[in-house]
């Protein structure tokens, strides 16, 4: 019955100086995953990098029974993970969390991602079949732009920005988003990335009366709703409460979340 999986690494590919794509063979996850969900990975055995690391599912290959995760090396956990190779096993649990809601009736969809927040959006785009899809992706600079081909394949329009203009437009990714909103209308916006970006996107969605879902990040302990460390403020009957990113999220409707912590 165990849902603690020990799955085979199919490949690890370095996409840029610090970003890696890992393909993991996992029938279990492939059969259950939805866009926006994540896996919780033990990056090294023993007490090195003790806690599991949450990483979004970036792609699902139903035929090969594989999932892709894409991650940036930040600290010791992701560093260890990047050193795995073909044939190694990874110890992970998942899929975890609430996925994005894919609405049937919509015609125009936008996804807005920043940094490592772009990865779950690729899987989301690939699962949205009926609508026209615009992807807005912001990166620090050229070196961090990855998976461009895949995003191109899975969207109708692709906008890229970098902080320094070394690729795409220069500045915030919300600039091209607002630009587009002058001429086009989106039925829903999905966003994931740094909090300032998410806040801005939520404001834009609100102004334009567009439905919006956000995917949040928080430091985690268990990943399954037990330890209560991954708190985020959401609205409740008596004002606010702390919900939990791993179980109530990571995806929330933008009007549920309170961004003042």
């Amino acid at each position: 019955m165990s849902r603690i999986l020990s799955e085979k690494v199919e490949s690890v590919e370095k996409l840029s100086r610090s970003i890696y794509k890992m393909t993991i063979n996992s029938e279990y996850i492939v059969e259950r995953a939805y866009p926006g969900q994540f896996v919780n990975i033990k990056c090294c055995d023993g007490i090195n990098a003790l806690l599991r690391r949450p990483i979004s599912i970036c792609n699902v290959d139903k035929e090969k029974k594989c999932i892709d995760i894409v991650f940036q090396v930040k600290g010791i956990g992701t560093e260890y993970l990047s050193k795995k190779t073909l044939g190694d096993k990874v110890d992970l649990i998942g899929p975890l969390g609430n996925p994005f809601t894919i609405l049937k009736e919509v015609k125009n969809v936008a996804v807005v991602g920043g940094g490592i927040g772009v990865f779950p959006l690729l899987y989301l785009l690939s699962e949205i079949k009926a609508a026209k899809k615009s992807a807005f992706l912001g990166f620090r600079n050229k070196d961090f732009v990855v998976l461009k081909d895949e995003f191109e394949k899975n969207s109708d329009k692709l906008f890229i920005s970098t902080d320094d203009g070394s690729e795409g437009s220069k500045g915030l990714i919300t600039v091209p988003l607002e630009e587009q909103l002058k001429s086009s209308k989106f039925d829903i916006i999905y966003t994931c990335g740094p909090t300032p970006m998410i806040k801005k996107v939520v404001d834009i969605a609100k102004e334009n009366e567009i439905k919006c879902q956000v995917s949040l990040e928080q430091r985690m302990g268990c990943g399954i709703g037990a330890c209560l460390v991954c708190a985020c403020k959401t609205k409740s009957d008596d004002g606010w409460k702390y919900s939990h990113v791993c179980k109530d999220g990571p995806v929330f409707w933008s009007n549920e979340v309170i961004f003042d912590d």
């Binding site: 165990s2 007490i47 003790l50 928080q218 268990c222 990943g223 037990a226 330890c227 209560l228």
Partner: protein
């Protein structure tokens, strides 16, 4: 046949492994990963009289072989627990221990009174939570504090009463004796050790609460020492915890004098940790041909 059952003042655990408070939710979060029927007991997330939202996030920091947490007792309140959680837990063979914390001694007494009428197996007094401003930990750091709270709560508590100690003291033996004298049925230890981690690039603490409670493998030697000291000083059963991840760790605590053990942080790394610990204990007992856990408890021989 190896007999893992252990009796702690009338609480008959099928095995000496209990999920530690705050690390196992109310059990249901783990049901997909492990068999709750195989765990001796579950100490539920620390409850307060009224529901609480807890501290600001981030609430966790990873440290070498350990973690710091500053959850700050987010919980649905004692009544929410009774309504929403007891029915689910009772469907399983595991014993239910209710961990309670309060701002005032009166809070503790009231909760003990309410819970005494419920279908639960024991009450664990958390007088040692380092993550809340008022009350709680303050009671746990002096013998006087422990005496007073144990004495008063004892009057209202009709269930087996476990007093959980904080390790943040000079002499754990004194505090344990104080709890025993005032009627504690068992002593559990250790709660978390106060710690701090700083994000050197932001020049700020990692936790929004600045400090937090340390747990996990790193604290094990401190916990084993304290369990040994307490087991030598009191006659009531001791429930040991602090960094237990596998059967061998559990045996270490039992040899030091623990009649039962609790598994905390390990549940985050391995959601099947509790049952793995049960099997590990079983395995050790087979290798050494021990028939009962009482062949292990307190059996360390000092030099």
């Amino acid at each position: 046949m190896t007999d893992l059952s252990v009796d702690i003042k009338g609480m008959k655990f099928e095995n000496p492994v209990i999920a530690a408070s705050g690390t196992f939710g109310f059990g249901r979060e783990f049901k997909d990963y492990t068999d709750l029927d195989m765990i001796g007991g579950i100490s539920v997330k620390g409850l307060t009289l009224e529901s609480r939202q807890g501290n600001k996030p981030p609430r966790i920091a990873e440290t070498p072989a350990g973690i710091l947490n500053s959850v700050g007792l987010q919980n649905p309140g004692v009544k929410g627990f009774i309504r929403d959680e007891i029915p689910f837990l009772r469907k399983h063979k595991t014993k239910i221990i209710v961990n309670i914390a309060g701002n005032t001694i009166e809070d503790y007494c009231e909760m003990a009174e309410i819970l005494s009428d419920e279908d639960i197996d024991g009450i664990e007094l958390n007088v040692s939570c380092p993550n809340v401003k008022k009350g709680c930990a303050a009671f746990g750091t002096t013998s006087e504090g422990i005496s007073e709270i144990t004495k008063k709560v004892r009057k209202y508590c009709k269930k087996p009463l476990i007093v959980k100690l904080t390790p943040n003291v000079t002499d754990i033996k004194e505090v344990a004796k104080a709890a025993e004298e005032e009627g504690a049925d068992a002593i559990s230890l250790i709660n978390t050790i106060l710690g701090m981690a700083i994000d050197i690039h932001k020049k700020r603490p990692v936790l929004a609460n600045n400090m937090g409670g340390m747990s996990g493998p790193a604290v094990k030697p401190i916990a084993v020492r304290m369990v040994y000291e307490v087991a030598q000083s009191v006659n009531v059963p001791v429930i040991g915890m602090g960094g237990i991840s596998n059967g061998d760790d559990a045996i270490e605590f039992m040899l030091a004098g623990a009649s039962a053990i609790m598994v905390g942080t390990a549940n985050f790394v391995n959601p099947a940790a509790c049952v793995d610990v049960v099997n590990g204990i079983k395995n050790y007992m087979k290798i050494h041909d021990f028939k009962s856990v009482y062949d292990v408890i307190g059996k360390v021989k000092l030099y």
